[in-house]
């Protein structure tokens, strides 16, 4: 459903992505691994249009995404959960959720059919805090909120950047369980992670990046077998 072909992206003059290609099939949970600063986040930002690739193509359900603005890409059914849990700090939890609903869209584009009621049913912790300001939530709650906020737009695919970063191990499990729940609802997921041990529990396939390029692609078994790759590109 999503085909990234040979994209090159820059931050100012520095060349970050050197021809990244990857594919996502409907219903998959794919994980993009790699060390700090190899271009994982930039890959997600390029798909979302936050960073504009200078070369290459990104096709999503037969539509070209390159050159489009983030809001247009979002309206086509791509959801984005950036790193650092960018919740709206001065909005309440409830208002944060409302922000996820796309304007002018009555029916859901995705299979999910996510509504505020359903979110509160699945994640009662958020309902308890619905009138709290976003800035008053704990790290784990903020992470949950950013994910469900994006779900409110009923995306077909969701791009998640380091969902477990900086969270306590128990909370990491909560967030991963949540991703499994989301995926079961029919949403395709492309996740960026540094935490290989967390990723291996939930992902179907993996891409590993190094220096702005994809250096490995394969499923869990292949990744576990490829000891060299793990040593060179993952373990610090």
């Amino acid at each position: 459903m999503l085909e990234v072909r040979d994209i090159h992206s820059y931050y100012g003059k520095s060349h970050i992505l050197h021809g990244v290609s990857l594919d996502l099939k409907e219903g998959e949970l794919v994980c993009l691994l790699g060390r700090n600063g190899v271009g994982k986040s930039t890959t997600l930002k390029s798909i979302m249009g936050v960073v504009k690739p200078q070369q290459g193509s990104i096709r999503f359900r037969d539509q070209e995404l390159t050159g489009k603005d983030p809001y247009e890409i979002a309206r086509l059914g791509v959801g984005y959960v950036p790193e650092d849990r960018r919740i709206f700090r001065s909005l309440t939890v409830h208002e944060n959720l409302l922000m996820g609903i796309k304007s002018g869209e009555k029916e859901s584009v995705g299979e999910g059919g996510w509504t505020v009621e359903r979110v509160y049913q699945l994640f009662p912790r958020l309902e308890e805090r619905k009138n709290n300001k976003g800035s008053h939530l704990s790290g784990g709650e903020q992470q949950m909120l950013t994910v469900v906020r994006t779900l409110m737009g009923n995306p077909r695919v969701i791009l998640i950047d380091e969902p477990t970063e900086g969270l306590a191990p128990l909370i990491v499990k909560d967030v991963l369980d949540m991703l499994v729940t989301v995926r079961k609802s029919g949403v395709t997921i492309l996740m960026v992670e540094q935490n290989f041990k967390a990723a291996i529990k939930v992902a179907d396939r993996f891409y590993i990046m190094s220096k702005g390029q994809i250096v490995f692609a394969g499923n869990t078994a292949a990744l576990l077998a490829a000891e060299e790759v793990r040593k060179n590109y993952l373990e610090v």
Binding site: A74, L91, M99
Partner: protein, 287 residues
Amino acid sequence: MNEIPVFFLHGLAYAGLLFLVSAGLTLVFGMMNVLNFAHAAMYMLGAYFSYSIMMHFTGQFWLSLMVCPAILFIIGALIERFLLRRVHKFGHVQELLLTFGLAYIITELVKWYWGNYPLAVNIGGFLGSTIQIIGITYPVYRIFIFLCAIFVGTVMALILYKTRLGIILRAAVNDSEMTNTLGVNVPLVFMGVFAFGAALSGFAGVIAGPLLSTFPGMAQEILLDAFVVIVVGGFGSLGGAVVASLLIGQLQSFGVLLFPKLSIALVYLLMAVVLIIKPSGLFGEEQ
């Protein structure tokens, strides 16, 4: 001893005017991170357009109060769409320079068309009269300014806190990029906010005409106070703009009464104190 209530009311009237100018400025800054130096120039344009309208259609103050903001709305939208948006990708310094240049251009155009001297706008009828209030005789017009500010502030607060558009605007003040990735047409929101800010400053200009005189230096005069308001209140905070306008209105007014030589310094002193105690402003979000 009628001085205190008089100066208090003067302070309220000036606070009202300041709020009308700063509200748009703080919203634009909060959202787009553009400190719009041309904002006060648009306020001045509002005053001059109003002068011309009232010359042609004698005494049509209300007409002017509706038409001038509409013209400024269009000017604001055009500036955002065709100038600011193009410069945006080069960074904030360039945006700042652009608005700085626009302020100069507008000021020069005003001098060229209307002349480099003060013009008086006289307001007749009830608005131009005086009434008895808290034991003193006071001009109706200054009270009218304060009421206008309350009206505009209330409408803005209702929009910001009671509508979906308001949620979008507050979200964009927090994080416009994130708002964009959630499917909100942020470029359109920016254009709307910038245009609305221009319209509001135009409205303030029309109102300022009969109070202060209409002259090419009027933009500079209010711009500094408006900057102080948004710094003291906190960038992007409407509530902050309300409180800071009231504070600075009173400070200016009583400053003139009590320490005539220091009255301008007092405003900056307030700003310095607030910045030392709370760098994000009274109601600003800590970054």
